[in-house]
């Protein structure tokens, strides 16, 4: 088990290498000169030249890349061109809201989606199944920003139950923290919920047709227990895969939601940085997001073993 984790972490290296090369190339191919943007429209050509020199932008691109990687390896991702803080500080300051939002959205999605999926599978073909699946199709079709705006309009503006935007850190108290997160989490988690509900239904249907379910019934197990104990644990594996993958997309998808609800998370950080051509911040954020994504998938892979003994890696 331990060796496996080490192996998985080592396999991160090529992934991060490729990601870093790609992101570095894309940024530098994109037109727009950071020095010109920093200095504004009034700046002279000489001023721009000297700032470019100072930022190291005139060096060959390979050298720029090597410098950045060497820094990153020692934990130094560079300094933002605009904000008076290092990239690490910027990321740490913005990661909290995004993680809070993503986790909250995922919890919301799972609490809704899994029971819906199970009920739909159990009552397959009924009007209940059909309407639940209809709603979930709608949930997948509506983009999160539209849902977000609708929620803002009805719950925030008309009913005035919840704030329409902004963010309060956890240190302001859990209740205040959640009050700001509910609407963004719903709008971000809705697609997720729809996806997981459909996956749960499909997976449950497959498992409910299997022979060991017949065995469980033949043993005299009551239907409720057949569904929850015998079927669900088996049906959960593919659901877990979807959860793992989608949690990564939640962090990325949070970009849009954060913009709409004005949450100072990673999404806002990266949008601002792209607009300002703040190279070190863009590179740093993408690297960290990649890392989180791979890390979550590692956790999912380890959870497989917990749920299904057939994929357990070490024999007792």
């Amino acid at each position: 088990m331990f060796a496996y984790i080490i192996k998985r972490i080592l396999s991160l290296i090529p992934v991060l290498f490729v990601v870093s090369v790609v992101i570095f190339s894309i940024i530098h191919i994109t037109p727009g000169d950071p020095a010109a943007i920093i200095l504004g429209q009034e700046a002279t050509q000489e001023q721009i030249e000297s700032l470019s020199e100072q930022l190291g932008l005139n060096e060959p691109i390979i050298e720029q890349y090597t410098n950045w990687v060497m820094g990153a390896l020692t934990g130094d991702l560079g300094t933002s061109y605009f904000m008076r803080e290092t990239v690490e500080e910027a990321i740490i300051n913005h990661l909290g809201p995004t993680l809070s939002l993503a986790i909250f959205a995922e919890i919301f999605a799972l609490i809704i989606a899994i029971p819906i999926g199970i009920i739909a599978a159990y009552r397959r073909g009924s009007w209940l199944d059909q309407s639940l699946m209809g709603i979930s199709l709608l949930g997948m079709a509506v983009p999160s920003f539209i849902l977000g705006l609708l929620l803002m309009l009805f719950v925030g503006v008309q009913l005035q139950w919840l704030p329409i935007g902004g963010y309060a850190p956890l240190s302001d108290g859990l209740f205040t923290h959640l009050k700001f997160l509910i609407l963004p989490a719903i709008s971000l988690g809705a697609i997720q919920a729809a996806l997981v509900a459909r996956m749960t239904r499909a997976s449950m249907l497959e498992v409910l047709n299997s022979n060991y379910i017949k065995t469980a019934r033949a043993k005299g197990v009551v239907e409720r227990r057949v569904i929850l104990k015998h079927a669900f644990r088996n049906a959960f594996l593919p659901i877990l895969t979807v959860i793992g993958q989608s949690f990564g997309t939640l962090i990325v998808g949070a970009v849009v939601t954060e913009t709409i609800f004005n949450i100072p998370g990673i999404g806002q950080l990266i949008i601002n940085s792209v607009e300002r051509r703040d190279y070190p911040v863009i590179q740093g954020v993408v690297l960290i997001v990649t890392f989180i994504y791979v890390f979550i998938n590692l956790i999912v892979d380890l959870l497989y073993g917990v749920i299904d003994p057939r994929v357990r890696l070490d024999k007792k």
Partner: protein
């Protein structure tokens, strides 16, 4: 004759399918005495498994099936009783083992947990006692080192051991009837023999009746005292094992017996086969169902549906001409 343990009376099982209602088991009646081993044979799709699962009432009654007729178990009508009461019988007085043991065991729980679950469903025992009982049951079925095996998962066992686990699970509450749905088909020949021996021994020691579904006539001759032959959802012959081989009455049964390879047979002769294939269930002939494939079929067979005739000495046969061709 003693009171039968199980009495199936005019059982019909209809399935609701996309192509309409299909009757997979049509007017099936038979009985099983306490301690008796009854074989049910027939080709794939003849309704053997559907009959057994109808007795256990394992089908989805809300959406999929509709039953007609009656089934008496210990003189109690079980076919229409509420599922809640049926759950107390299943796994307790009447239990079942299936064809493919690896897919019939839940992969995410240890075999001990699965056996103990059955015990705890039907008996008031503590978790520890149930676990202890599970070990005993595994030992009874001849699994070596049961104390160790009890904590293993199904995929860690061989096919033969998995089927032993299934048997241990089915027998853990001392049922009076075991329904075995082709329990040896997925196993290789030596393991098959061991499992048959085990079932025979348990039948003797525990006095439980067995309904043994198979398409292997060799297994029937070894194990069963009475045989039910099914074709296309109907019973075509009920006979004792001895006469099944020496004096089969129905042309279909004759065909089955003739198609067994003989060790001393002439190797140049090709093996006799029953011509044609089983018609699909929605194209059941409105006459003798075997008439499309029967070498003896005449006009009568193609127009009128024969009834299951009660011959002398406990034999039943569904054929217009069995006396003539016998």
């Amino acid at each position: 004759m003693t009171n039968p343990l199980l009495e199936v009376k005019n059982l019909r099982t209809h399935f609701h399918t996309e192509r309409g209602r299909v009757t997979a088991v049509d007017d099936v009646s038979f009985s099983i005495a306490p301690g008796e081993i009854v074989g049910v044979v027939g080709e794939s799709g003849c309704g053997k498994s559907v009959t057994s699962q109808s007795i256990m009432r394992l089908f989805d009654e809300k959406r999929l099936v509709e039953y007609e007729g009656d089934i008496l178990f210990n003189n109690e009508s079980i076919l229409h009783m509420p599922q809640k009461r049926m759950q107390k019988i299943r796994g307790n007085d009447m239990s079942m083992i299936f064809q493919d043991p690896i897919s019939s065991l839940n992969p995410v729980y240890t075999v001990g947990d699965q056996i103990a679950e059955t015990i705890r469903l039907h008996q008031k025992v503590t978790k520890k006692q149930a676990h202890q009982k599970a070990v005993e049951m595994l030992r009874l079925t001849g699994i070596p080192a049961p104390e160790k095996r009890v904590n293993e998962f199904p995929h860690q066992l061989s096919g033969g051991m998995q089927q032993r686990v299934m048997i241990a699970m089915a027998l853990s509450c001392q049922p009076s009837l075991l329904i075995a749905d082709e329990p040896t088909t997925a196993l290789d020949v030596t393991i098959q023999a061991q499992i048959l021996d085990l079932i025979r021994d348990l039948n003797k020691d525990m006095g439980m009746a067995v309904m043994f579904i198979t398409h292997d006539l060799g297994v029937v001759s070894e194990l069963c005292s009475k045989v039910i032959v099914m074709y296309l959802g109907e019973i075509v012959e009920i006979t004792d094992t001895e006469s099944l081989f020496t004096n089969p009455l129905h042309p279909y049964t004759k065909g089955l017996i003739q198609s067994i390879p003989q060790l001393d047979g002439d190797r140049k002769d090709s093996l006799p086969v029953i011509e044609g294939t089983v018609p699909s269930l929605d194209q059941v002939p409105n006459a003798c169902r075997f008439s499309t494939r029967c070498p003896f079929a005449d006009e009568l067979c193609k127009q009128e549906h024969p009834v299951l005739e009660h011959d002398r000495d406990e034999k039943h046969v569904r054929c217009w001409h069995y006396k003539k061709i016998g």
